[in-house]
Assembly symmetry: C2
DNA sequence: CGCGGTGTTGAGACCTGTCAAGACGTGTGG
DNA sequence: CCACACGTCTTGACAGGTCTCAACACCGCG
């Protein structure tokens, strides 16, 4: 059930049987949230963190004028608001893009778990730092990549991240976002998302139909994106 | 000497005398680095973190084509690469914008300090999460704010962050970046930075001369920026 | 059957980038 | 002390990427 989470952790570091036991005991309950809901509203004091078991979520920030920017996408295995453990409340909303199944992890349990296992503490600290690295890469996209490069880069990133948890194979994966939502990730309007998607198709790099993305030419897509997966920290390190 | 650092921490949480003693014992040596150097190159294995005592630094990512995006600016008191403690190597460069004085903190000492004090661990974990929150806000700027709003927002953020460590008073502070460097932060060309600066001046909001920024109308500047300092997590929390 | 969400297309506007040139200040070497 | 180079700031003309506004097709669903 939280296998995707363990796979994600093990792609970064070793997880001892003892740590695995602790991790499994973190969950207090499992809940479901339908699509297009605000699961966590910014500024609200939180007592729990949430581990995404199934579905897609996002970290979103809104401008007073209503424009929305997504700072990161979350898929199965992600601890979507692990940072709320230390931040207490979030500076952004956490929203569901699809129906989602989530494991609730009380901060109390995180506190005692981290006080028991220094290694687990560093591992979870690492995971929040990897989230930050992903957000940095998105900043680079938003600041310096063209619409085409940005979109190509996102598709490359998701291909790798979904691959880690077995949700991408043969360079194809389910991609549930609408063009409007894709625009909120890329800092583009939905109209321009539409045209950029057509350009990627015209170049023979991808197909996106029936909410499924297929990458025809990964090498070329990476080149368009300027994609280097180092920022995902997938080399397993020992500690 | 590391007073700015303690001020910054205490703006977020209480720091016990015992924790303060531990923090002061983290530093192994103090070094100086001239302006415009790459202090840390991405991808290099690191054994130390660095605490900025004096000067300005930045987290920068470069595209293969040479364009540079700065993901965050660092000022005195910032632990510029605390995240390297868990990441081991960085996905970005850390560069000096001015001459800098830095305290070296061996990861070994961080390891033993965090294993001794769970509270200090959470405090430093919190600080990396606040860095991530700043980077998220920059993503919002890059994705959704106009050039004018982006620049206004950066000036508001620095006014608050420098205020915490006593480097901004009466809404004025030393601002050492060139217009090219400012553009690298804002995702703009230096030409457009120049024109946007002129617009802010024309509106009577700021002055920027001799590397010193003066905010004439903070209320109006905040309104142009859509600035809300909540993401800096300055309310002191108890734990 | 109508409706709302989604995807698509076109025309035109606007913001920001590109290229180029010149002004200004500062440090350096002759 | 001057000449010069260099980095920085400034300005102008123009190009181009992305946005805005509008309309329409498509489709699942109540």
């Amino acid at each position: 059930m939280i296998d995707a989470h363990l796979q994600k952790l093990r792609a970064r570091d070793t997880v001892s049987p003892e740590d695995e036991r602790i991790i499994r005991s973190l969950v207090s309950e499992v809940i479901e949230i339908p699509a297009d809901k605000t699961a966590i509203r910014h500024g609200i004091e939180l007592q729990n963190s949430m581990l995404l078991l199934d579905g897609w979520m996002a970290r979103a920030k809104d401008l007073p004028t209503g424009e929305r920017q997504v700072a990161e996408l979350h898929v199965a295995g992600d601890f979507v608001d692990l940072h709320s453990f230390t931040l207490k409340s979030l500076d952004h909303d956490v929203i569901t893009m699809t129906n989602c199944r989530l494991a609730i992890v009380p901060h109390e349990r995180l506190k005692s778990a981290t006080e028991r296992s220094p290694h687990l503490t560093r591992l979870y600290w690492l995971m929040t730092n990897i989230d930050a690295a992903i957000q940095r890469e998105w900043s680079l996209s938003l600041g310096r990549r063209s619409a085409l490069g940005r979109m190509a880069h996102l598709f490359c990133e998701l291909n790798v991240r979904l691959g880690v948890i077995g949700l991408s194979s043969d360079n194809a994966y389910d991609f549930p976002l609408t063009q409007v939502e894709l625009g909120e990730c890329l800092g583009l309007t939905s109209v321009h998302v539409n045209r950029t998607l057509q350009e990627l198709r015209r170049l023979g790099l991808i197909a996106l139909e029936n909410r499924r993305l297929t990458i025809f030419n990964l090498v070329a897509l990476k080149r368009v994106a300027g994609f280097d997966p180092a920022y995902l920290y997938l080399g397993r390190r020992v500690d």
